[in-house]
Symmetry: C2
Subunit: 227 residues, 2 copies
């Protein structure tokens, strides 16, 4: 929690600076736990914010998509981009409407995205996408064909200019409000997996599995066990 | 699912248009279920994407914050804004890395934000924030004081230019890949509440409640019962 460590003036958090965190570990942890990022870019003066999957390898964030994607085509012009990842950790119920809040961990990355042209790096990035969602999955499934590789654009964004913002804990009420007889506190929120839905279209395959294997990922709290 | 109903060319979904939905009901439902939106705006040519809470009243989206907020100060210049809300509904595990996907419901709103100056409308908006998070909460807690109202900026964004994009269902694999003996299907994800953490600082108040009351909100699946 040291605002002095901000990598640049424009990633210095100004509102509620005590919630700022510029540590690499915090930033990586949030990015690795998140599943969807929001990509902000400007096209003909209009800002757009588009949700998409992503992967991280060391200090590089990867996004990908079809060569027909407007977002990717626009980013390929070498324009500035802002990527935001937000994890919602809880609702904070105070005794006044004003002091209601949310607990969250968020990361904002600024930079310029670059097309990944090196074939090996592209494969590393695509592996990161799959492994990000389901660790171990890359080894289990069919690897991308030459045609699929050609049909996928991968863009890299350095994590050089990134900052995290974190709120934890309960409500902070005005002193007089502690007399108000209403429940106050935090309701923690967690993204959890419910019962997996097996795709039965492959059920005639030899060795067909009706249950996913055990994987240790925080969100898969339930029902994700090896057959 | 009718792309012809897009309210404007720039909210017409071009990538995977069969996932587009311009129905008011779909858009409102996603906005009402979401808790955090991502606000995209341009400041000196640089796009920023900032997560924040929001409220909806009819066809208006409200965001709010401190008068010191750069985001609000920038938006008050009457510039274009893009607000994105994404609900992650599931992981889609295919038999090839290429066909892995996610199920989601997302809304993108384009427009210009306006300062809410009318005192009554401002109060309606602030009520919408509180009720959005916890229906019924507005009546239970202390209403905003004159000072708090003065210290809060509320901006309105019409939902005139909005579109939704939705993916549901399992993986769509290449025909040959159905022979691969790996589990495939959907792992549904759900934002759930875990055990509430009571703020004990008010426990000397008469009528102090140690448990939150029963509230019917989809995410509060557990442990949120009246004392």
């Amino acid at each position: 929690m040291n605002p002095q460590q901000a990598p640049s003036p424009r990633t210095t958090i100004k509102r509620v600076p005590q919630r700022a965190d510029y540590e690499r570990d915090t930033i990586y942890q949030i990015l690795d736990e998140g599943l969807v990022c929001q990509v902000g870019f400007v096209d003909h003066g209009q800002p757009f914010v588009i949700p998409t999957a992503y992967g991280r390898v060391d200090d590089t964030l990867y996004i990908h998509g079809s060569p027909a994607s407007r977002m990717l085509k626009t980013l390929l012009q070498g324009i500035d981009v802002c990527v935001s990842v937000t994890l919602l950790d809880g609702l904070v119920l105070a005794r006044s409407a004003f002091h209601h809040s949310m607990n969250y961990r968020s990361v904002v990355v600024l930079g310029t995205a670059t097309l990944v042209q090196d074939a090996e790096q592209k494969l590393v990035a695509l592996k990161a996408f799959t492994e990000h969602v389901i660790p171990g999955r890359w080894q289990e499934v069919r690897s991308p064909s030459r045609q699929e590789l050609a049909g996928t654009l991968v863009l890299s964004l350095p994590l050089a200019e990134a900052s995290a913002k974190v709120r934890t804990g309960g409500p902070l009420d005005d002193t007089a409000d502690y007399q108000i007889p209403v429940w106050a506190g935090e309701i923690p929120l967690k993204l959890t997996a419910t019962t997996p839905i097996t795709d039965l279209r492959g059920c005639e395959a030899p060795g067909f599995q009706t249950s996913p294997r055990q994987i240790e990922v925080p969100i898969y709290a339930t029902n994700y066990s090896r057959q």
